[in-house]
């Protein structure tokens, strides 16, 4: 059984994001990169399947810059067997990333049975790559999964829908699944795991190797800027019973006209 896990490297959640001076992207030099937290659930699920099926092979793939390979090394330290890196800038669009992932899967020469990914990356929050990838591979896909049960060649997955309810699907493999928080509890990479990871193979490809060119870009970023600073909160004094009616009307009015939430 071949399991592929697509991971993205994203800025650590505590990073202070600064747009570049020309606004074309964000400053990446001082960023501490981590594995996208949703991808950790995907890696963990792959490793759980491997634990139950020792013959399974788990390959992690990432598209991004080479200067720091944290996410792939972490995944291999957690227990993935091998990795593939497609060298690219950190600001590709979802379509190009999906196409590069597809190319890397094909390059491996292995036929995928299960492709896992996080439901979204916490940097651009696009929520697109798993679905585009599934479409390109001609495979079914289910996103936002919080339950996974493999029975032979079908997977029973649960996915969260509005109102806290769950949808249950039975999907035939091969399949692309995108993980949500709650699917499992990702393990830590152990120290012996970190040592072993160094000896695990990591294939490296260029975008051209996997058939991606500038022409594949569907989204062009026109600029990056920080959101406007939040104005200070407003306080209303309604301790005087006689004035309460007036204050309530004022609050409701502002919620309607200023905050625009009513």
């Amino acid at each position: 059984m071949n399991i592929f896990v697509c991971v993205k490297q994203v800025p650590d959640t505590e990073t202070k994001i600064i747009p570049t001076s020309d606004g074309s992207f964000i400053e990446t030099a001082s960023i501490k990169w981590i594995m996208n937290p949703y991808d950790e659930f995907a890696v963990e699920q792959a490793l759980l399947v491997k634990a139950a099926n020792p013959a399974a092979n788990v390959t992690v793939i990432r598209v991004g810059s080479v200067k720091d390979t944290e996410a792939l090394r972490t995944a291999m330290a957690m227990g993935a067997d091998d990795a593939a890196l497609v060298e690219a800038g950190d600001n590709l669009d979802s379509y190009s990333i999906a196409k590069a992932l597809k190319g890397a899967i094909e390059k491996s020469g292995k036929k995928p049975d299960i492709v896992l990914a996080g439901k979204q990356a916490i940097d651009d929050d696009a929520l697109q790559v798993p679905q585009i990838l599934a479409e390109m591979l001609g495979l079914p896909s289910v996103s936002v999964i919080v339950g996974f049960e493999l029975n032979g060649s079908t997977v029973k997955v649960k996915r969260e829908i509005e109102g806290g309810a769950l949808e249950v699907y039975e999907v035939a493999t091969p399949v692309v699944l995108a993980a949500n928080k709650g699917l499992n509890t990702p393990r830590y990479a152990s120290l012996p795991g970190i040592m072993k990871a160094k000896k695990k193979p990591m294939a490296q490809y260029s975008l051209a190797d996997v058939g991606v060119s500038d022409a594949d870009r569907r989204v062009k970023y026109s600029g990056f800027k920080l959101p406007p600073e939040k104005p200070a909160g407003k306080k209303f004094d309604a301790t005087d019973a006689a004035k309460q009616k007036e204050v309530v009307a004022q609050v409701v009015g502002l919620l309607r006209t200023e905050a625009k939430v009513l």
């Binding site: 090394r73 830590y188 990479a189 152990s190 120290l191 012996p192 970190i194 040592m195 160094k198």
Partner: protein, 378 residues
């Protein structure tokens, strides 16, 4: 000269720090309050390979260098200096075996610590002998085919949970240092009597007790080295362990500084965050300067160990400077937090209480200066 960590060391650091943030910090205050022994956290850390870093690879360990060990130690102390005392005590007890044990002893006593979660305890100090460790009164008598241990030990970390003790005693008090010997005692051996858990100012989660050895019989082959070689083994152990203890001061100090910076940016007085006031800036600058200097000393002390060079002098610099700095930095952290800092609602008062012990155990700051002077004046 290269001051950078290897990529492997950076990953080790990442993991240890993640563990400290997720598994230790959320429990630190509670365990301190209740005096709960952190056995669950200890076991989790062991499962990830963060414990017993001194065990060589040929006996099942991960083959870490001293520098690797102090990188991990600093991170775990960042999580909680008190819990880390319990963790570190394992290394402190196993180091004499690593240093003075023969192959059979290492196989028999070190390897089980790599295959299952076990707790070790180092028993050197006595009620009447702290800094003057040479004045040991616990006796180790020849009983024919075994040794018989009698005596009182005090301030023994992990004693209440120990699967194994390394006990120092004398074969003849008249021989002074030359009579001191070290034996390995299994935790379940009859005659070991545990005192009550000490109610301490800080490191309240760590288990510290007096232990009485009443005619405790151990096999002859459990002695480390020859009778009378215990002092040399103990001194060499301290050369290895002092950088580790110093690294725990570093972790506590770093945590205090990170909290101080965060708070100073949030707390507003006179219309601006207090970080804008020079009085506070100077305290934070002082913290950064001391931590950087301490870290260089600690790393050098461990690096010398890895080169197989004598590090007695530098290890003392590192231990004294890092622990004294940690005390100053945690005290200033409470100062920056002001009234809130003095309250148990905020994390810095615990750091200040915990810091104090690092100036005391494993050779007080005064004893370290004695060692330095002895090295410098010889």
């Amino acid at each position: 000269m290269d001051f950078s960590l290897t990529s492997e060391q950076r990953e080790i650091r990442e993991l240890a720090l993640k563990f400290a943030r997720n598994e230790m910090i959320p429990l630190a205050q509670k365990y301190d309050d209740e005096g709960t022994y952190p056995k669950d956290v200890f076991k989790k850390a062991w499962e990830l390979g963060l414990i017993n870093t001194c065990i060589p690879a040929e006996y099942g360990g991960s083959g870490f260098s001293s520098v690797d060990g102090i990188i991990i130690g600093e991170c775990l102390a960042y999580g909680c200096m008190g819990m880390n005392t319990s963790f570190m005590a394992n290394d402190l007890a196993l180091l004499p075996i690593v240093i003075g044990g023969n192959d059979a002893q290492k196989k028999k006593f070190l390897t089980p610590f790599t295959t299952e979660f076990r707790i070790a305890s180092f028993a050197l100090t006595e009620p009447g002998n702290g800094s003057d460790a040479g004045g040991i009164r616990t006796t180790i008598k020849d009983g024919g085919d075994h040794w018989i241990i009698n005596g009182d030990k005090m301030w023994i970390t992990n004693a209440g949970y120990a699967d194994l003790f390394v006990v120092y005693g004398t074969i003849d008090p008249a021989l002074k240092h030359k009579g001191i010997s070290a034996v390995i005692v299994e935790g379940k051996t009859p005659g070991i009597e545990l005192g009550k858990k000490e109610d301490k100012m800080g490191h309240r989660s760590s288990d510290t007790r007096g232990v009485k050895f009443n005619n405790v019989k151990v096999p002859k082959e459990n002695m480390l080295g020859k009778p009378g070689e215990g002092w040399a083994i103990a001194m060499s152990t301290l050369d290895h362990s002092r950088p580790l203890v110093a690294s725990s001061a570093l972790g506590g100090a770093q945590h205090a500084m990170d909290l101080s910076i965060q708070y100073a940016k949030e707390r507003v007085q006179f219309g601006v965050p207090i970080a804008k006031h020079q009085a506070v800036q100077f305290m934070i600058a002082e913290m950064g300067m001391k931590i950087e200097a301490a870290r260089l000393l600690v790393h050098k002390a461990a690096w010398l160990c890895d080169q197989g060079e004598r590090n007695t002098e530098v290890a003392s610099y590192a231990k004294a400077f890092a622990s004294d700095s940690c005390m100053q930095i945690t005290t200033d952290a409470v100062q920056i937090y002001g009234g809130y800092g003095y309250s148990k609602e905020y994390p810095v008062e615990k750091l200040m209480r915990d810091a104090k012990l690092i100036q005391i155990y494993e050779g007080t700051s005064q004893i370290q200066r004695l060692v330095m002077a002895r090295e410098l004046l010889k």
